[in-house]
């Protein structure tokens, strides 16, 4: 909760704010592993659904005109009298699409949720770039923008950081529209990481609808705070620091939709609020399970690196 007079004084993020040196070092030992990446990718370390001229034998298929003669298994021909081609497993890259939320709600509090979200995005980008995968950044608020088309190479990390440091607060969260725009980009199937508080004014159903249409693998990073579930914590903290009054009669204003509600912080109201919040989280988790997507609740007031490391069991996460 932010007093009206202190709302939307967005801090300037610098590149140093986004770097977590410890995690970047640890990222070198972490790996995002795809079971099978989509074909027609760039040569990299991920196993691809493509069959081709890899090193690891995978299958045979009958020869057809036009096939590479070098792939014919002459031993089989000698034994069976038929011409088969040996197929090898292709290794291609896993496109990582980072969709950080830069809506107004991500910039409202101190420190802003966007800071933690962008740090997480940069950390994942470091992991991905470290294993020769491509990374694209598509921040969204009321719409989705292309901050960086998929690119690869370890040397790109600093450039990504610099680009993310230029992000400024957007408008209201509209996940549906952002996902539509993202789908329209026609990107090769990859891992789509949505980093957001998921506080879309349209509600959880709109988020589910929007994400359900995404054909990429999904990883949801939910930016949370303890005060999300218990608003009285933020209230007391503000009162103690002198940033707000001590009364419990509030007019809460949605920073994105400007919706207004008069609230008295009684025990019953708080209980209902917590129940609503819990229902929201349970719905989001259920959706993630239904999509076989990962879901990480990232506490914005804690260090990002240890929380993010939880995604990687034994240093690798399979997507």
């Amino acid at each position: 909760m932010i007093e009206a007079s202190q709302a939307f004084v967005s801090p300037e993020l610098t590149r140093a704010d986004l770097f977590d040196t410890a995690f970047l070092e640890a990222a070198e030992r972490l790996r995002l592993v795809a079971r099978r990446v989509a074909p027609r990718g760039r040569f990299a370390d991920q196993r691809s659904r493509d069959r081709g001229a890899g090193l690891e034998f995978q299958d045979y298929r009958p020869y057809v005109a036009g096939d590479d003669m070098r792939a014919i298994d002459w031993t089989v021909y000698q034994r069976l009298g038929r011409v088969f081609l040996r197929l090898f497993e292709e290794h291609e890259d896993l496109p990582l699409y980072l969709l950080p939320d830069v809506s107004r709600s991500a910039w409202l509090e101190r420190p802003p949720r966007a800071r933690a979200g962008l740090r997480a995005a940069l950390a994942l980008a470091a992991v991905s770039l470290g294993q020769h995968d491509s990374v694209g950044i598509f921040p969204f608020a009321e719409d989705l923008t292309v901050l960086q088309r998929p690119t690869s190479g370890k040397g790109r990390l600093m450039e990504l950081a610099s680009r993310m440091a230029t992000l400024t607060p957007g408008g209201a969260t509209d996940v549906r529209k952002a996902m539509q725009r993202f789908r329209a980009l026609g990107l090769r199937e990859g891992l789509c990481v949505v980093i957001s508080d998921f506080f879309d004014p349209a509600g959880l159903s709109a988020i589910e609808d929007a994400l359900r249409g995404v054909r990429h693998k999904l990883l949801l990073v939910q930016l949370v705070r303890a005060s999300d579930r218990d608003p009285s914590l933020a209230r007391r903290a503000a009162a103690t620091s002198g940033r707000a009054g001590s009364g419990d009669d509030l007019r809460v204003i949605d920073c994105e939709s400007r919706a207004v509600h008069d609230v008295s912080l009684t025990a019953d109201v708080l209980a209902r609020y917590r129940a609503a919040y819990d229902r929201f989280n349970e719905g989001l988790a259920a959706f993630a399970r239904s999509r076989n997507a990962g879901l990480l609740a990232l506490d914005c007031d804690a260090d990002v690196a240890p929380q993010l490391a939880q995604l990687f069991e034994n240093g690798r996460r399979e997507v």
Binding site: E3, R113, D197, P201, L250, I253, V260, H261, R272
Partner: protein, 638 residues
């Protein structure tokens, strides 16, 4: 449990009003504080079940309400001044002696300190402190805080006046309100409430404990009066004394006036008096005595006079008197005798110089009596009634009396000598023996006991000097003295004699010495001339006289109209005492009545001790306030 500042009903009403006001404050719609939040999704869901009201909102903080109510109730309770011990135990009256005797070095301070110690141990709602100086005033009314006493005592010091302890004691014993009209004057000290104002009826107090702080004597007569008054009010009276201290050393006191009084002039002149002044103490012989005559309005402060009130005209300058005969009886005892001072009602002041350690006894004053000559008129019918020889003898007797002035005009006379009993003025009537059974018949005001009048008149009229047996033999009949009430509209006094008593051929009364004595005494009695001259001396009973039976139905004892005399040893200081009145009966004029009553010493009171309920209430309120602040700081209190 009772309350000192308001009634129990008012306390309950205030608590109810407080609870209602706090309840309304809890319910009233408040101005919301605007805050921005990341989302209102969940608020919307939470509020769908409890819509805000348009006028008031529901009762939101029962804990905060309970705490606020408890705090407010405690403060309100404290303001009401609760006292659980208010109705229990006796009522205490502390009498602080402010008479001149307390001016001795250290004595007043010791009495004040003892008073403060005693006050600490007594319940405030049942304790009052009275100042007993020249007048009685309330220093601390019941229920007032002890801290006020010291501030109010700041303006008080021993006064050059006799103690009023007895008056206060008698008045308080009887309830405090019954003596205002008969000489008891109570003045409230600055800021102090009247002792009886706004309090429960004191008559309901079954026990009354009076403690005298100081050396003021409580005579047995006054003590008896107080006991009677308390008994009449249905309460038990206990009187004790907290002695202010041992008598001061003579060297510390010095010398002072120890006797002052006037007496009829030794020269026999009616219009003058002789004045006696005694100075005793260390260095008495070295001190100069100045005698001045001043207007009665020039009385020193604290020595109120019971004599005639001061005239509105400006007071003439004092006249210095000379010619006093100074007799040094001893180095520490000097007497001055001033003869033939005009008895004109002026104030004779005595001043000793140079002053010593105790200045209170260096100045004394006495109000001289007024003794104008009595105007006597002889009625025209007198010559025919008693004959020329008797009339001439009568004229001679009157002319020899310096107190009498024969005037021709009957209207200007104080006393009329006549042969008929129809005079509207006090008269000496020469009646015929055929018309009057008694040889001497005294007429008095209706309502008086004729036997008392006769008994008193025997001495005052000099009837005991008559040779009644000889006169009876000469007249050949029995002589009798009688008394009868006069008509209410007529004169107050009358003396009726047989005219045969003064008939030259019948008796030899005209030749006797008792004749001019009887005439002179009769004139004085009829004119109601004052017979008492003020005199007071240390160690002697204050002169008194029983009020004339014709002057008042209620008898009273008038103490001498004297100024102040300091006692070297006992520090008794007497002044112009107002009458010590008693509601009924006559105070017997025996010496025992004026002996000091043996008051027991005060025992240490075991008062409430510790902290009062008010202190505890305020302390609990303070603790609750701290607890609320701590809860607020931890976010557990809105």
């Amino acid at each position: 449990m009772t309350f000192t500042t308001m009634t129990g009903g008012a306390v309950a009403l205030g608590l109810a009003a407080l609870a209602l006001a706090l309840y309304l404050l809890q319910r009233i719609r408040v101005r919301h504080e605007e805050v921005f939040v990341v989302t209102t999704l969940f608020w919307r869901e939470a509020l769908e079940e409890s819509r805000a009201r348009t006028l008031v909102e529901r009762f939101r903080h029962p804990l905060a309400y309970a705490l606020a109510l408890l705090l407010g109730g405690l403060l309100w309770f404290a303001a009401a001044g609760p006292d659980h011990a208010r109705e229990a135990g006796p009522r205490h009256v502390l009498l602080l002696d402010g008479s001149a005797g307390m001016a001795l070095p250290g004595r007043f301070a010791a009495a004040t300190a003892a008073l403060e110690r005693e006050l600490e141990a007594l319940p405030r709602d049942r304790t009052e402190v009275l100042w007993c100086g020249a007048d009685v005033s309330t220093l601390l009314a019941p229920g007032e805080d002890r801290a006020l006493l010291r501030a109010r005592l700041a303006g008080h010091a021993p006064e050059a006046a006799p103690a009023s302890v007895e008056r206060a004691l008698v008045a308080r014993a009887g309830g405090g309100a019954g003596f205002v009209g008969s000489g008891y004057v109570e003045r409230a000290a600055s800021g102090a409430r009247r002792a009886d104002a706004g309090q429960a009826p004191r008559q309901s107090d079954a026990q009354l404990r009076c403690v005298v702080f100081g050396d003021a004597p409580v005579r047995a007569a006054a003590y008896t009066l107080a006991l009677d008054a308390a008994r009449g009010a249905g309460r038990e009276l206990n009187v004790a004394r907290a002695q202010a201290g041992a008598p001061a050393a003579p060297e510390a006191v010095g010398s002072g006036v120890t006797a002052l009084g006037v007496s009829p002039s030794a020269s026999g002149a009616w219009t003058t008096v002789d004045v006696l002044v005694a100075v005793r103490g260390v260095g008495a012989a070295e001190r100069q005595v100045a005698l001045t005559l001043a207007d009665p309005s020039a009385l020193p402060a604290g020595a109120a006079s019971a004599g005639p009130s001061a005239a509105a005209a400006p007071a003439p300058p004092p006249d210095t008197l000379a010619g006093a005969v100074r007799t040094v009886l001893a180095p520490d005892h000097v007497e001055l005798l001033l003869r033939d001072v005009p008895a004109n009602g002026r104030m004779l002041q005595v001043a000793l110089t140079p002053s010593d350690a105790l200045a209170a006894d260096d100045v004394a004053s006495v109000l001289l009596p007024e003794r104008p000559r009595i105007r006597v008129a002889l009625a025209a019918d007198l010559a025919a009634a008693i004959g020329g020889e008797a009339l001439e003898a009568l004229r001679s007797a009157l002319a020899a009396d310096s107190a009498v002035e024969v005037v021709p005009d009957r209207a200007n006379a104080n006393v009329v000598f006549t042969a008929t009993a129809d005079a509207a003025q006090p008269a000496l009537v020469f009646a015929s023996a055929a018309d009057q059974v008694e040889a001497i018949l005294l007429g008095h005001a209706p309502g008086l006991d004729s036997r008392d009048v006769i008994a008193r008149a025997l001495g005052e009229l000099g009837l005991d000097r008559l040779d009644a047996a000889t006169l009876a033999a000469e007249l050949g009949r029995e002589l009798a003295v009688g008394a009868a009430p006069l008509a209410a509209a007529g004169p107050a006094r009358r003396v009726s004699l047989w005219r045969e008593l003064v008939a030259p051929g019948v008796t030899g009364f005209l030749e006797e010495r008792a004749f001019p004595l009887l005439i002179g005494r009769a004139v004085r009695w009829l004119a109601e001339a004052p017979s008492v001259t003020p005199y007071v001396a240390v160690g002697r009973t204050v002169p008194h006289r029983i009020a004339d039976v014709a002057s008042a139905v209620t008898a009273s004892v008038e103490l001498a109209e004297v100024a102040r005399v300091a006692d070297r040893g006992a520090s008794l200081l007497l002044g112009a005492l107002p009458p010590l009145a008693q509601p009924a009966g006559v105070l017997a004029p025996d010496a025992d009545a004026y002996a000091p009553a043996g008051l027991p010493p005060v025992t240490a009171s075991e008062g409430p001790g510790g902290w009062r309920a008010l202190t505890w209430l305020l302390l609990v309120a303070l603790v609750l306030t701290c607890a609320e602040w701590a809860l607020f700081q931890r976010g557990r209190m809105p």
